[in-house]
């Protein structure tokens, strides 16, 4: 029983990490007042870019770099549309979703379904990995998981304990007051959107370079959306996002494993679990029957126009 539980926990962590990059990125973006609905598509672009690079160069570092560059470029485009041209964020996000999922399928067609020679391998942390149970769950993972161990505390520290984090929170609540204080609101938004998109593409790379080692059209299969709803679920706090990601990870991994133990139920019903769980979690955390006031950034989804101030 114990090996079964540890293997499920370890798999849940891998799953959680693959959506956490995108979710934390989106938390930053939404805290800056920009909602990016295109996560799912951008993640696919990341997965495709990473895989195509690895396929041609067999170099994981190049793959990671190219993924980040693609993320930054997509972020720049998204920021240009939503910040400079002040287009509607929801519509823009949907356009990016469709564009990126199409483009990733189009450019990645030639390498569909082929396994790559290299992928991120499991690295055992010397002493820690030999601790029974805990070592197996936390310290026999790969690069993306260890990087995430750094990203989580850093992002929490950044948002709540630094001056830049304070400005970020203000940006999502009241950009006009920041502008009056002489801070370049537009540049800040550009920066956070690009950061968010780069994080989202890393999530995608996680899926095509570590979770699996192939590329398939639409391979994220809704993970981007789960990451997106995780943001509202976590009430814009990376710490809760971690808990939520582990919860979703646990549910979907359990679903996959239950199939083996309870074959009577068709696999499609297990496949529905994470989506149903997302809806339920969303109702519980954002439903208006909650007495507590919403932590949603007040300027979320609102374009900032100096002339309207």
């Amino acid at each position: 029983m114990i090996p079964f539980i540890t293997s499920i926990c370890a798999a849940a962590i891998v799953y959680a990490v693959s959506i956490l990059y995108a979710a934390i990125g989106e938390i930053f973006s939404q805290r800056a007042g920009i909602m990016n609905l295109g996560i799912e598509g951008i993640m696919l672009m990341g997965a495709m870019t990473g895989f195509v690079t690895v396929y041609h160069t067999e170099n994981l570092l190049f793959a990671l770099l190219s993924t980040i560059i693609v993320g930054l470029v997509l972020g720049l485009a998204f920021a240009f549309l939503t910040v400079t041209l002040q287009a509607d964020q929801t519509v823009c996000g949907m356009a990016f979703l469709i564009f990126c999922s199409g483009l990733s399928g189009f450019l990645g067609k030639s390498v569909t379904g082929i396994a790559s020679a290299v992928k991120f391998q499991q690295i055992d942390i010397p002493v820690l990995s030999s601790i029974p149970v805990i070592g197996e769950i936390f310290f026999q993972q790969d690069f993306f998981v260890y990087l995430m161990y750094l990203v989580i505390p850093l992002s929490i520290f950044y948002i709540y304990k630094t001056k830049a984090g304070l400005m970020l929170r203000a940006l999502g609540e009241n950009p006009a007051s920041l502008d009056q204080a002489g801070i370049n609101v537009f540049a800040m938004r550009y920066g956070y959107i690009m950061f968010a998109c780069a994080m989202t593409t890393i999530s995608g790379a996680c899926i095509s370079l570590s979770y699996t080692n192939f590329w398939n059209e639409g391979m994220t299969g809704g993970k981007g959306w789960i990451a997106f709803s995780l943001v509202a679920f976590s009430r814009w706090n990376p710490a809760y996002a971690v808990l939520g990601a582990l919860l979703f990870g646990g549910i979907s991994i359990l679903g996959m494993n239950m199939q083996v133990y309870l074959p009577g139920i068709p696999s499609q019903f297990y496949g529905m679990l994470p989506y149903a769980a997302t809806i339920i979690a969303l109702i519980i955390t954002t439903g208006s029957f909650r007495k507590k006031h919403s932590e949603e950034p007040a300027a979320l989804c609102q374009k900032y126009d100096r002339e309207d101030r």
């Binding site: 041209l85 979703l97 399928g105």
Partner: protein
């Protein structure tokens, strides 16, 4: 500052000519933009586009194929548009489509056999009901608990598609089949075909006209536009917003469900896994490009039907069929960017003098007046 500066300034009104010309220009730019990716993938864009257009629009057979491919898109476009009209994002047309097909399919495959026109009518309403109920799940959450309808409708897509998958691989699967599809539905349920075009087109045009009249000339249509423009005004005026959320999303879902009806009875004549095939998402693009005008949706859908129809011919040239989705996205982004120039004009200032040196051929007079004021005040200063 010695050099002149470029500035954007807001326009108060947009002429109708501009409103139509602007998307057209930016759609063309979108094609240019997407050429970059086509070249990056090692193909020649111009022959590809030429082949797509000549195959799917410039001959009768191709055009008929395009219109048939456009039928479900028309209903999905209308479905998304009516929700957009009230600032609701229904990106669940895909799932509502699937649910409509499931409800209708259950009747067609296992329901009692009725006489010919009656059975079609029953199936039509069952499909609409399926989509409607699926959308109402999200609508109720939105209306009563203010849960974000965007995410809920999307998650429901995945659930509906998995359920359709289960049915088509499981209990509904046709015997001696390896692909996930049911047996053909009874022929009495097929939509009649007129000159190769499915009569679903008449249904689509009828629904679009009704929707247009409803939005433009009824009190409810007006109230919807009030809710879109200002929620607080609507609440103050006593418009039952919750009721409208339920009604509009139910209607939206029903339209997507009817897309399922058209697809099953008019085109594939059976229920199969992945039946919607992305139509729900294409509907978003169509609704946006047509600026939610139901009549424009019919026309734009035909263009998108042509895109989809031509995906098979470009595949023969070796171009991946995903070019269609990519083009849809590029066009949408391009038109979004173009929208900006409907709201703003570019003005060129010379910094030393305060006059406007830009060309102004728009119908907006306000800046001119300001200009005159400026000159007057300058004169005053000199005197």
């Amino acid at each position: 500052m010695k050099k002149g500066t470029l500035r954007f300034e807001k326009k108060q009104t947009v002429s109708l000519r501009r409103k139509i010309l602007n998307p057209v220009v930016f759609i063309l730019l979108g094609f240019v933009f997407s050429s970059i990716f086509i070249i990056a993938n090692g193909f020649q864009p111009i022959p590809v586009f030429a082949k797509m257009i000549s195959y799917s629009l410039l001959n009768t057979k191709g055009l008929i194929g395009s219109i048939n491919a456009a039928l479900p898109l028309m209903f999905c476009g209308l479905s998304v548009a009516i929700a957009f009209k009230m600032n609701l994002n229904n990106i669940g047309a895909e799932g509502q489509f699937a649910m409509g097909a499931i409800f209708g399919g259950a009747f067609a495959l296992y329901g009692p056999s009725l006489s010919a026109p009656l059975s079609s009518v029953v199936m039509f309403f069952l499909c609409a009901l399926g989509g409607c109920l699926w959308a109402l799940l999200a609508a109720a959450l939105k209306a009563f608990w203010k849960v974000n309808e965007t995410i809920v409708t999307l998650m429901l897509n995945y659930i509906a598609l998995l359920f359709l998958d289960y049915l088509c691989y499981g209990p509904w699967m046709a015997p001696k089949q390896t692909t996930a599809m049911t047996v053909k539905i009874p022929e009495s349920l097929f939509l009649p075909v007129i000159n190769g075009t499915s009569s679903g087109l008449i249904l689509a045009i009828l629904v679009a006209v009704l929707l247009y009249l409803f939005l433009k000339y009824t009190a409810a249509g007006y109230q919807i536009s009030v809710i879109k423009n200002s929620l607080s005004t609507a609440e103050y005026a006593g418009i039952p917003v919750k009721k409208f959320i339920l009604i509009v999303l139910a209607l939206s879902g029903a339209l997507a469900g009817i897309a399922g009806f058209v697809q099953v009875t008019g085109i594939v004549h059976r229920v199969q896994a992945q039946l919607p095939g992305g139509s729900g998402y294409t509907g978003i693009v169509i609704a946006y490009l047509s600026q939610c005008n139901p009549l424009a949706i019919i026309l734009v859908s035909v263009l998108f039907g042509a895109l989809q129809n031509s995906s098979s011919v470009v595949q023969i040239m070796g171009v991946p069929s995903q070019i269609v989705t990519m083009l849809q996205g590029t066009l949408m982004i391009s038109v979004i960017a173009g929208e900006f120039f409907n709201r703003y004009r570019i003005a060129f200032y010379k910094a030393e003098r305060n006059d406007y040196t830009s060309e102004r051929n728009d119908d907006n007079q306000e800046p001119k007046k300001r200009n005159d004021d400026n000159q007057e005040s300058k004169k005053g200063a000199v005197q």
